[in-house]
């Protein structure tokens, strides 16, 4: 299936990956000299990362010849994995996976759908899957931050929340302040991305477009569009997840479930 040209590309890619891996190992060895031992995790992460992207490369080879609807299936699978990954940050909150799944599916899914329908993202597999995955990844990271912060805030303010309940407050009112804090915290990375775009970092998509010969100005503006979409997907996802998760933090009788060490 692989033709000679592709084999050459693969060999070239592997050689470049080898060089990059050598630099990672060098950084790891420098850390080791300062008694910081991250050898095992780094090597596992390197091998895992490399095998994952090679697998994705093979998947793309098949998909590029497949029907367009397969991109929808891939994005749906990505959403499920993203939900499971971000829910791990909030293991102690019941319903964290369902909340994350719903929030990322609606938050990232809606933005992707709007952008596809308006023509901002082409509905080809090669455009939709990479750009869609960026939005899903951004939503996942922000969602994980929001859930983790919410859990931490609630567990460290049990007394205040139960005082509010004891005064007749509803669960949403009792945790309103902590939902706001979590939402704000979750938007710090996408906000920083927007703020520093083009100054501190030139993201991968723009780099790729430049390398593939796109006009620099269009590549720059399109990168802004993608970063703005990532912000919108993150914002919407976290708005939904923080709204839903507060319900899971309480029992049906409006008792705080998420009490951490106070339990």
């Amino acid at each position: 299936m692989l033709n000679g040209n592709l084999s050459n590309h693969l060999l070239l890619g592997l050689a470049q990956a080898g060089l990059a891996a050598v630099m990672v190992i060098a950084a790891m060895l420098l850390a080791r000299r300062r008694q910081i031992h991250v050898e095992r995790e780094t090597l596992i992460a390197l091998l895992r990362g490399l095998s994952q992207v090679i697998a994705v490369g093979f998947v793309f080879i098949v998909l590029l010849r497949g029907p367009r609807w397969t991109s929808g299936v891939i994005l749906a699978l990505m959403i499920v994995v993203a939900a499971a990954t971000s829910a791990r940050r909030a293991k102690s909150i019941p319903g964290a996976f369902q909340t994350s799944l719903c929030a990322i599916a609606v938050g990232a899914g809606l933005i992707i759908a709007i952008m596809v329908l308006s023509g901002v993202i082409e509905h080809t597999i090669t455009a939709l899957v990479p750009v869609g995955s960026m939005l899903i990844a951004a939503a996942m990271n922000s969602n994980a931050l929001a859930l983790d912060r919410f859990r931490a805030e609630v567990e460290s303010h049990v007394g205040e929340i139960e005082s509010a309940l004891a005064l007749g407050a509803s669960p949403p009112a009792a945790v309103a302040r902590f939902v706001q804090i979590s939402y704000r915290a979750s938007l710090i990375p996408p906000l920083n991305n927007l703020r520093t775009l083009g100054i501190v970092w030139i993201p991968g998509l723009m780099t790729g477009m430049l390398l593939s010969g796109s006009p620099p100005l269009y590549a720059a503006v399109y990168q802004f569009v993608v970063i703005a979409m990532m912000f919108a997907a993150s914002g919407l996802t976290c708005l939904i997840s923080t709204g839903l998760i507060r319900g899971h933090a309480f029992t049906a009788a409006q008792q705080l479930r998420l009490r951490g060490k106070a339990a």
Partner: protein
């Protein structure tokens, strides 16, 4: 008439029984102290009384009605609670006092807030930020905040244990005066037997999660209740 009656009340946490078969009656206008050693289940019992925790056995009757048939927020409005630590909300004293009624979209007037603060000895404290309060003042605000809901029953969970000796007596006297003037029913958890003797007419003695004795304070302690 018993305003609070527990029936075979119990709670189990992670397989461990922390309260077992508690049958307790508190009459309207009565002050009952729950005493016992650390870990006896005093605070756990109090938390069950306003349903901050769920009983695993039995139930509580509030004014003759099984409290599971009441909306939790309404039950908690009528059964107020002051905790060991004040746990005030960020903002001013007045904002804290207004919190309970605001949950029902009721806005307490400045006059009503002032009157509640006067009852707890904090005249002129309305606009004070809570981080500028001493421990004793914070606990007074917590009391005024609970009273703002006009509860029928007041639950007090070791309300003076986090305070120094002077503040402790001040708060104790204040609570007794407020409870008497409002004819409140009051259940106070304390590990301080002398405090129980000063504040409560009746005591319930807990040990290892079980109610081992109830009776008039003087009978249980074998001494006359001090004024």
């Amino acid at each position: 008439m018993a305003i609070i009656r527990t029936e075979h009340l119990g709670r189990e946490v992670e397989g461990k029984r922390i309260l077992d078969d508690i049958n307790l009656e508190v009459s309207e206008g009565e002050v009952v102290a729950i005493v016992g050693p650390s870990g006896a289940g005093k605070s756990s019992l109090l938390r069950l009384l306003n349903r901050l925790d769920e009983p695993t056995t039995g139930t509580v009757y509030f004014a003759g009605q099984d409290y599971r048939t009441l909306a939790p927020a309404e039950l908690r409005r009528r059964v107020g609670m002051v905790m060991q630590t004040a746990f005030l909300f960020p903002g001013t004293v007045a904002e804290n006092v207004r919190f309970g009624p605001s949950q029902r979209d009721e806005l307490l007037s400045a006059q009503a807030v002032g009157s509640l603060l006067a009852q707890v000895g904090l005249e002129g404290f309305s606009t004070r930020e809570i981080h500028n309060l001493s421990g004793g003042e914070a606990q007074r605000v917590a009391l005024a905040r609970a009273l703002a809901n006009s509860p029928a029953v007041l639950l007090l969970d070791e309300p003076t244990s986090a305070l120094d000796e002077d503040s402790k007596l001040g708060i104790e006297n204040l609570i007794s005066a407020v409870v008497e003037s409002r004819r409140l029913t009051c259940v106070i958890v304390t590990h301080d037997l002398q405090q129980a003797g000063r504040m409560a007419a009746r005591v319930a003695l807990l040990s290892s999660g079980r109610l081992v004795r109830t009776g008039l304070t003087r009978e249980v302690f074998g001494a006359e209740r001090q004024p």
